[in-house]
């Protein structure tokens, strides 16, 4: 069974042996982020503090960079490839992500905001 399907089928809830506690173990929310000259889609992402999320990163037209410096994350997005990055923000705030591979005239405005509420 594909791992993703197995997770969906089995980990929605986990009951402890004593039957007195039910803990939600949902898989991380997956958020697709597409890079193309000269924007990220979406350009603003909102997550909850403490929520584990996985960014599914793709690029359409250039080896854009995906850099989220406040979380120590940076990747090169090669067109045709899919990369995943998982984070669990511990603090609320507004954090920049940006393309950090120079990609052309609109490079300087190719950025987005991660809102941790």
């Amino acid at each position: 069974m594909e791992r993703r399907h197995f997770l969906r089928a089995s980990v929605g809830f986990a009951c402890c042996a004593a039957g007195v506690e039910v803990v939600a173990l949902a898989a991380p929310r997956r958020i697709a982020v597409e890079a193309r000259k000269f924007q990220f889609t979406p350009s603003e992402i909102t997550v909850r503090k403490g929520e584990t999320v996985t960014f599914v990163l793709t690029s359409v037209d250039f080896p854009h960079g995906f850099s989220l410096p406040d979380f120590g994350v940076r990747k090169d997005l090669i067109p045709g490839m899919v990369l995943e990055v998982t984070i669990t923000p511990a603090n609320a705030g507004r954090f920049h992500y940006l393309c950090d591979n120079f990609c052309g005239d609109g490079h300087d405005r190719m950025s987005g905001i991660l809102v941790v509420a």
Binding site: G65, D76, L98, D108
Partner: protein
């Protein structure tokens, strides 16, 4: 500056025509506004080809104005260095070359003994510096010596990623190995070597490796561009000075959420635009002095 407040000297010099006060008490070595044995000028971030009038309605006139101001100086600098982003980037290779040729022609009017150039990411990142080298005939990284100071030009822009790269770091290591520890060094580069604000792409990923190589030398100063506003920072004893732009200012970190070009202020035209005069000498730290473009 020895014996005179630097701001006071600026007032005395009056800028439109700099007068070098070598006869002032305590200024025996004063040959430039920083009090060095000589001075040179740093012009940066021309972005020739940029044409957003709400940010700079005089986009075609600001560089010629600066060149005229330099040519009017009573005390000629020993040289002028352009620290990158000579042109606004374009995907069109022909237009890129045309813009560079225009910059070359305009800057040839500088009446100074020598002009040095190097590339910014707008010039070089899309073709690994091919058009830049064709037009300006400079290599992307090089060294030169002038009146006791060793100048090192580092390239952190011809790769689309903001890096120096292992090959260049090895080149730097080999160059520094030839120097005595008391050799004064000025590093010229486009992006900040230190991690100024990577959230806005104001950093060189492996810049710290270059700083580490420079650390054993007690007299090192770095002049750079890229951030379009004046910033002074130290990593240990090494001073890092960013230059003003000659096309548009960028707002400093902490003043706006996103990287922002500062709109034109009709009440204060050319505000935030300018160039730099550096006083330098083998016995002192190279000292910058910002010179605004005047209306």
């Amino acid at each position: 500056m020895d014996g005179i407040d630097r701001r006071e000297f600026i007032k005395l010099a009056g800028f439109g025509g700099l007068v070098f006060a070598s006869g002032l008490p305590g200024c025996a070595h004063l040959a430039g506004p920083g009090g060095g044995d000589f001075h040179f000028l740093q012009l940066s971030d021309l972005h020739w080809g940029y044409n957003i009038a709400s940010v700079n309605p005089d986009f075609a006139g600001t560089l010629p104005k600066a060149i005229a101001a330099v040519n009017s100086l009573d005390q000629k600098p020993d040289f002028v260095v352009f620290t990158g982003d000579l042109t606004q980037t374009t995907d069109d290779p022909k237009l890129r070359r045309a813009r560079m040729q225009q910059v070359r022609e305009m800057t040839s009017k500088l009446n100074v003994p020598k002009v040095w150039y190097f590339a910014g990411e707008h010039d070089a990142a899309l073709d690994r510096g091919e058009a830049y080298q064709e037009t300006f005939g400079e290599t992307l990284r090089y060294t030169f010596d002038h009146k006791g100071i060793h100048f090192i030009v580092l390239d952190n822009t011809s790769d689309p990623a903001p890096i120096l790269g292992e090959k260049q770091l090895e080149w730097l290591r080999a160059d520094l190995a030839k120097l005595s520890r008391d050799q004064p060094i000025v590093v010229l580069t486009h992006r900040p070597l230190f991690s100024m604000y990577p959230q806005w792409d104001w950093a060189t990923r492996d810049g710290q490796a270059a700083i580490d190589l420079l650390m054993p030398f007690p007299n090192v100063t770095v002049f750079y561009g890229h951030v379009h506003h004046e910033n002074h920072h130290r990593t240990s004893h090494i001073a890092h000075h960013s230059a003003l732009s000659l096309m548009f200012p960028l707002a400093p970190v902490g003043t706006v959420e996103k990287k922002t070009q500062v709109p034109w202020n009709a009440a204060a035209p050319y505000k935030g635009l300018g160039y730099r005069d550096v006083g330098a000498g083998p016995r002192r730290e190279a000292t910058p002095l910002e010179i605004p473009v005047k209306a």
